[in-house]
């Protein structure tokens, strides 16, 4: 059987030399079981060692390999070349982030805002380890579990028009994380996170386009997480938070 090949067009940008990004074309042999990531690794290993992209686990859990594939945000490890026939396949860095080199983007927009949403349990009272685990029923777990599944791949940032337009917008994954802890029965941190949630760059920065949830590879549904907090935020504004019940 003759070897099948597919063309991959990669965006290239080297901050030390280039003033502008450009596209470079590679022809890659492939088999039906090959992911796009494996195609890119072939380029790196055999054709051009300078082609730069992030990857690690190759099983869609580490969140490293998000890129634009023919204009859509995808994880390259779980995108298959057979689904992109006949090609060419265009691979570009995630939208809405500065490029560091080729497909590697500066992730600061997400990583540097994490601390502001206080992504940890703020307990009502510190409990010694000797007191054992909290009780948390499957129902209480379900209240936040979906939002704890985010792998921080940043596809939602590439999908979100507000991330591109509003530099103060905290962003879908960070706000989802904020909601994940707010919704946890062990946590009473809502008020500590309210400043961020209620700010211009917080939940109100979202204009409910919903593309973030469409591109999420883990069905986390950031749009839903953010918009649940709009209701809470509005009640906060009117001093009616107690309507939701409980101390949180």
């Amino acid at each position: 059987m003759s070897e099948r090949r597919i063309r991959i067009e990669g965006l290239r940008y080297n901050p030390e030399k280039d003033t502008q990004p450009r596209l470079q074309t590679y022809d890659v042999p492939f088999t039906d079981d090959m992911s796009l990531l494996q195609g890119m690794q072939y380029i790196k290993d055999h054709l051009d060692g300078s082609f730069t992209f992030r990857w690690s686990c190759r099983m869609a859990i580490c969140g490293s390999c998000g890129i634009m594939v023919n204009g859509n945000p995808r994880l390259s490890c779980e995108t298959f070349l057979r689904d992109l026939l006949p090609g060419p396949v265009r691979v570009e860095p995630l939208e809405n982030f500065p490029i560091q080199r080729d497909l590697a983007v500066d992730q600061g927009r997400f990583v540097d805002t994490l601390a502001s949403v206080k992504p940890y349990v703020v307990p009502a009272q510190e409990k010694p380890l000797s007191a054992g685990p909290h009780r948390q029923t499957p129902e209480q777990l379900a209240a936040y579990y979906q939002y704890s599944q985010c792998i921080n791949c940043l596809l939602c940032y590439a999908a979100c028009p507000q991330v591109g337009l509003n530099e103060h917008f905290v962003g879908p994954a960070a706000l989802t994380l904020l909601h994940r802890y707010n919704a946890d029965s062990r946590d009473v941190g809502w008020s500590a996170r309210a400043d961020v949630a209620n700010s211009e760059g917080g939940v109100w920065g979202c204009t409910l386009v919903g593309y973030c949830s469409q591109v999420c590879p883990k069905a986390v549904d950031p749009a839903h997480a953010i918009n649940q907090n709009k209701a809470k935020s509005a009640l906060d504004y009117f001093g009616l938070r107690s309507l939701l019940g409980g101390a949180r």
Binding site: C62, R101, V121, L129, L141, N152
Partner: protein, 588 residues
């Protein structure tokens, strides 16, 4: 060269590194911590652990059970004093993670649920569906934001340790985005850099699992211990090696050959009934299951797939509801990467390299032979895994010994003086020049060419079953590859900024040395024990080999292999028995 002054440097941001950094911060907020990782911490390979973490919690379980399962699982090569400490501290670390928000799976009444794993007498694996490592890692990463004394240096690739007069005083790293060097000056270092599985071709490990932490310590004279013990996980996708967690079997999945026969009953793991029962059949330990596959394959009773031979991991009888609730990641991964829906069809699986039992020799306080250098997690050998690690003990190890390493380092830092700046800078400049030399090489081979031959040599000579001839052959081949590496690797990319080809060339240099330590240790151990199986020495030999292997670097030559004693306190070596009679167990 940028200089960062700090007290404790933690290299590696996975489970062990994050837990170590938090331990330093909790002990004393005035102790400065620099967390240096070649990836943003939540990308670390801990993220890919699926099944769960061990910790005695059920009323019908005891610390002695966990101890005995671990020591017999390790074929008596475990240091029993360290295992004692370990099992006594697992549950409190699981509770600590729970307090920090880890979404452990629960019973209806809200209490913690635990599941079976292989080689376990009673259920003791805490789990968060089948994304346990993911949740453990993200919980630690997110919680680390509580502690301002932890200064992160993400995407900084550590190229050398600064060691003066036998004491570590710093670490040199490349800031990946710019290619500039940063010298961290400190009083203590925690190595938490993970394993070295990527020296093999077919494995479950992420691309970043390249063993530099081991290489860094080894180059400065620390011994690598028990490096011949490499774990093959029995259930991985052919070709990619993607892991299908042991929790599948803990939840009731079975393994069959091409005839639908549960072949494990032929390899000392039967009889079949009553099923399920602890420590029998599919709930046997990983080394035995992987070895059974090898024999089954030799007999021609495996299934042939385009990516090689396989057996069937069959979950179907568990029903869609349980499969989706307990094993969502596996379901997704099998559908995506194998094109198989586990609700409808068995998953083709085969063994792949999963874990390095050995590592930088360290004591119960995680102290290595180099003063001020501590090691925790997969890069270390504190002595709990012996010749075969029990499933669920590695995630538990990251947090139990991550904490110990952090506390030990903080304590050491308090009593230690600072670095001699001029000498440290001098060392750092030399190390930086060596790294930069790789960028400037005018001629040589491709990184991928040497790396590929190394992987093949390891698969062939230091595989699931070994012989003297095979291991010696791997030793010769790796020596040859080291010589070729010294002759030169030629990079396509001569730039500094985000040059991942350069980083992979540095990784390769250390991988070759770690691979060489593995091959020579395997050639030295003329017996079969746990994961180290010799066709030409099929029995365990306690007279000659109930000892740890220590590999010491010897410049460009072959490592020197010596032995060191195993600490045995209360469990004298017995024969390692699985299967047999037993009562039916209730899966949870």
């Amino acid at each position: 060269m940028r200089i960062v002054e700090t007290d404790v440097v933690v290299i590696g941001g996975g489970g062990a590194g994050l837990r170590a950094a938090i331990a330093v911060a909790m002990r004393d907020p005035a102790t400065r911590v620099a967390l240096v990782s070649k990836v943003v911490p939540m990308r670390s390979h801990t993220v890919a652990a699926e099944g769960g973490a061990a910790g005695v919690v059920r009323a019908d379980d005891t610390l002695d059970n966990h101890f005995n399962d671990t020591v017999s699982g390790g074929d008596w090569l475990c240091d029993q004093d360290v295992v004692d400490y370990f099992v006594a501290h697992c549950a409190e670390e699981m509770i600590q993670l729970e307090h920090w928000g880890c979404p452990w799976s629960r019973h209806e009444d809200g209490s913690i649920n635990v599941r079976f794993f292989g080689g376990m007498k009673v259920q003791r694996t805490w789990f968060a569906a089948d994304r346990s490592g993911f949740h453990l890692l993200h919980t630690l990463f997110q919680t680390s934001h509580k502690y301002p004394s932890i200064q992160r240096h993400d995407e900084h690739f550590c190229v050398d340790l600064i060691v003066e007069d036998g004491r570590v005083t710093g670490a040199l790293a490349i800031e990946i985005a710019t290619g500039e060097f940063t010298l961290f000056l400190c009083r203590a270092v925690v190595l938490a850099t993970g394993g070295a599985g990527r020296v093999y071709r077919q494995n479950t490990n992420a691309g970043i699992v390249t063993g530099e932490g081991m290489g860094l310590a080894y180059r400065h004279g620390a011994a690598l211990r028990d490096m011949e013990f490499v774990q093959w996980h029995p259930t991985c996708l052919p070709g990619t090696g993607i892991l299908m967690t042991e929790a599948c079997r803990g939840e009731g999945a079975i393994l069959t050959n091409k005839d639908g026969y549960r072949y494990l009953q032929d390899y000392g793991l039967g009889p079949l009934d009553p099923w399920p029962r602890a420590k029998a059949m599919e709930l046997g330990p990983r080394d035995r299951l992987s070895q059974a596959f090898w024999h089954e394959d030799k007999k021609g009773r495996t299934v042939q797939t385009p990516q090689g031979s396989a057996v069937n991991l069959d979950l179907r009888h568990m029903g869609a509801e349980k499969i989706l609730a307990r094993l969502p990641l596996i379901t997704h991964a099998a559908r995506t990467f194998a094109g198989v829906d586990p609700v409808e069809q068995p998953i083709p699986v085969r063994p792949a390299v999963h874990y390095t039992m050995g590592g930088v020799a360290a004591d119960m306080r995680c102290a290595t032979e180099i003063a001020g250098l501590f090691a925790a997690g997969e890069c270390s050998s504190v002595g709990i895994h012996g010749a075969n690690r029990l499933g669920s003990n590695s995630l538990a190890e990251t947090v139990v010994f991550g904490k110990v390493a952090g506390e030990s380092a903080a304590e050491f830092a308090r009593g230690a003086g600072g670095a001699d700046l001029a000498r440290a800078q001098d060392r750092a400049r030399q190390a930086a020049d060596r790294a930069l030399g790789l960028l400037a090489a005018p001629k040589g081979e491709r990184v991928a060419a040497i790396r590929g031959e190394m992987m093949d040599a390891m698969e062939e000579g230091v595989g699931l079953y070994r012989t003297q001839e095979g291991a010696d052959g791997a030793c010769r081949k790796i020596a040859d590859l080291r010589a070729r590496y010294r002759d030169g690797v030629k990079l396509d990319d001569a730039n500094r900024a985000f040059n991942t080809e350069w980083l992979s060339a540095i990784e390769l240099g250390m991988m070759l040395e770690v691979a060489q330590a593995m091959a020579h240790s395997a050639a030295w151990r003329k017996e079969s024990r746990g994961a180290h199986q010799r066709l030409d020495a099929a029995e365990r030999d306690d007279e000659a080999f109930l000892v740890h292997t220590l590999a010491r670097r010897n410049g460009d030559g072959a490592p020197v292999i010596v032995s060191s004693p195993v600490t045995i306190t209360k469990s004298p070596p017995r024969s390692r028995v699985y299967g047999g009679e037993g009562k039916q167990a209730q899966l949870t």
